[in-house]
Amino acid sequence: MFSEQAAQRAHTLLSPPSTNNATFARVPVSSYTNSSQPFRLGERSFSRQYAHIYATRLLQMRPFLVSRAKQRWGGGVQVKKLCELQPGEKCCVVGTLFKAMPLQPSILREISEEHNLLPQPPRSKYIHPDDELVLEDELQRIRLEGDVDASRLVTGTVLAVLGSARDSGKFVVEDHCFAELAPQKPAPPLDTDRFVLLVSGLGLGGGGGESLLGTQLLVDVVTGQLGDEGEQCSAAHVSRVILAGNLLSHNTQSRDSINKAKYLTKKTQAASVEAVRMLDEILLQLSASVPVDVMPGEFDPTNYTLPQQPLHPCMFPLATAYSTLQLVTNPYQATIDGVRFLGTSGQNVSDIFRYSSMEDHLEILEWTLRVRHISPTAPDTLGCYPFYKTDPFIFLECPHVYFCGNTPEFGSKIFRGPEDQRVLLVAVPDFSTTQTACLVNLRSLACQPISFSGFGAEDEDLGGLGLGP
């Protein structure tokens, strides 16, 4: 691991100065390919309806689900469409799930005059015991009952259910299955330790001074200024840094200038301007020393709908001078030194968190992998571009490292798939609150959290470090 490797060199810094100080060369990029092309939008047209994305999603996922259903319930199981269903006959149906939730915010209900309702306050979860599941395929829809837990499923999931239709017009489910993991190409073995640093939620412009020191310490470790020779040597093995979203804090999104009178806000500058300037300086320091990939997040100045397009380079005049800086999309997919990375800035996971009973972000991440779709709730509750030809959020190939940013705490797990796929799931925590980043070792596919702290007046018992009694 990073620490053990770092500790192997002798400590030299608590001694009088020596003239020869070691300089380490950063590990060169042996191979890097950016495969985020499906997430780049060229000419955008919003004149289409969202029904097309569901249609193409079902069309693409159907073959995967049929093969999984046959594997699970035997080759002889009958796969039928809803229009061919006979009452009482046991069969398997493949379709898209729709969850009818009474608590789901609905704009129509909000503005309806007959209800005279006040707008709903935002809640952390919108689930309710009365949620109902409906299965839709190309032509029809049918209510689901039985052995299926509505609280764990969300709208937009494509799945296969085994059961039979009843005279009442409902489908009683005995078992269900997902598309599970996509096929995975094995990663070529590496001979030296190489690390990729995952950080998310820098939260600049948020006004919290403590996290700024943490950010500076992070940059110093990666650029090799901090630490003893051993640590600097290990830091030289960090071949890439990925900033997974929310570089700006949500405080920069205040819309005061819209609500206040013009004469009060005339000379004020948007909070994001200063924050972006700070970000530019940080990116300059980082890209002068290591290749950086910057993904936009929920509070960053780019489009709102998924897939979010890269931040515009004109915002970073200092940092774009270096070719090591790469501005990428959210979600982001790339192959670094033979290891496939796929990740998002966390909007997909937090949206599923709101509409299901799953509590752990890492568990939700694993669930999206098993459903073979990055964000099934788009476009229902999460903004999405109206695709119509293909749904780019379907996993066509299984990644080796799958991460999501801006989770409340760090989490990492190795997940094994049915065809011996091995995926490292990483929940990258929000840096502005946890001061923690993730170091992924590409050789062993393990992840180590790395956290930073300063000291404050109240830290009498090392509470800030997490080392307290």
Partner: protein, 396 residues
């Protein structure tokens, strides 16, 4: 001895100037490797404590290592006060590194000032921020200032930008910005060549001005066209001798663009001028689709206006005037064929009463104004005003 100098330096910083001396601050100030700076700090602390045990020195250390937390081996990096150092060390399972982070006279209540010190010294050293660091990345080289290939790409994909000269290039809002950066960068060189006395500051001002002015007009697509065209023209103007003659239709627009990038006049004067032609520009810009055409036009105009040795200000003046009086274009068109010959004569002496009464008065004050940098601004203002007056009369 040079070796012991650093001790005195640190002493001076800490005790006399009451500064917070972090290892990074020391590394930039003394120009040494970061590790050496850390060792220097440690050495200083040790010696000072040995000499004078009651020394008023507070030291903060950086400790890093791993410890088991929640089932993972977590790597921790922490800045701690001296009194907490041993406690933290004992909690870590593996200690990766310990070194002095900073020295200061007063006890720090929290780590905020440490960040401020580092931030300040970093701001002043942004361009070589990893000069003294222990890791050097071979791949991290700043892009060359002129990168035409990547600029072409910008037009096709919305991704890259070639804004190498950060302060100057803000014309990235449209796809035609690529050559702009090239031009703008070359212009300072050209301008510098032209004006012996002019300081680079003027150029900066002009560029900044360009920036702000261009910002106003960036929404006009052809603006981008103009800028590269103009830039090319400028470089051509400086480098080559003969150019083709081309009819100049929309002189005012081109002039505006050139003026924006090239000129050195006071901002106040140019802005009002630009406001008027901007409107004109916008309307007529749409009619001019091809960048090359504009480039050629500009080139033609340039050539016609002057030979290489003519001073730039003259051109600027001429352009400026054109902007001011777009309606005088037609007269200037006639003027153009005559001007090349006239120009050289014009500059030193009062111009002959040739068709362009306008260029004449313009060039007259130019040589004197160019020479004196101090009174220049004023002179130019004066010149312009009088020119306008003359022009209108002339026109009328």
């Amino acid at each position: 001895m040079a070796d012991q100098l650093y001790l005195e330096n640190i002493d001076e910083f800490v005790t006399d100037q009451n500064k917070i001396v972090t290892y990074k601050w020391l590394s930039y100030t003394l120009g040494v490797h970061v590790n050496q700076a850390k060792q220097m700090l440690y050495d200083y602390v040790e010696r000072k404590r040995k000499e004078n045990s009651g020394a008023q020195l507070h030291v903060t250390y950086l400790v890093s290592g791993s410890l088991i937390q929640n089932g993972h081996s977590c790597h921790k990096v922490a800045v701690v006060r001296e009194d907490k150092l041993e406690a933290v060390k004992s909690k870590l399972a593996v200690t990766a590194s310990i070194h002095v982070y900073s020295i200061q006279k007063a006890m720090l209540k929290d780590s905020g000032p440490l960040f401020n010190t580092d931030y300040d010294i970093l701001k002043s050293n942004l361009q070589n921020c990893s000069k003294f660091s222990a890791i050097h990345c071979a791949a991290a080289v700043p892009r060359a200032s002129v990168e035409s290939s990547s600029s072409e790409k910008f037009e096709q994909s919305n991704l890259q930008v070639s804004s190498e000269t950060p302060a100057n290039n803000e014309l990235t809002t449209n796809g035609h910005s690529p050559p702009t950066s090239k031009q703008i960068f070359q212009q300072p060189k050209g301008i510098m060549g032209m004006f012996a006395s002019k300081a680079a500051s003027k150029t900066q001002d002009a560029n900044k001005e360009t920036k702000t002015e261009t910002k106003e007009v960036t929404n006009v697509s052809s603006t981008g066209n103009k800028a590269p065209g103009k830039g090319n023209v400028m470089s051509n103007f400086f480098g080559k001798a003969a150019m083709n003659k081309l009819k100049v239709n929309l002189d005012s627009e081109q002039a505006v663009k050139e003026e924006k990038i090239v000129e050195q006049p006071p901002v106040s004067v140019t802005e009002p001028k630009l406001a008027a032609p901007t409107g004109l520009k916008k309307s007529s810009k749409k009619a001019e689709p091809v960048k090359m055409q504009q480039k050629e036009k500009k080139r033609g105009k340039r050539v016609e206006l002057s030979d290489d040795e003519t001073k730039e200000t003259e051109n600027m003046k001429k352009k400026r005037r054109r902007i001011k009086l777009p309606e005088s274009d037609s007269s200037e068109d006639e003027v153009i064929p005559d001007s090349p010959g006239d120009y050289e004569a014009e500059s030193p002496s009062p111009p002959p009463p040739s068709p362009p009464p306008e260029p004449v008065p313009k060039t007259e004050p130019e040589p004197p104004s160019v020479k004196s940098s101090s009174g220049e601004k004023r002179k130019r203002k004066r010149v312009l005003k009088s020119k306008t007056f003359v022009d209108e009369e002339g026109c009328i």
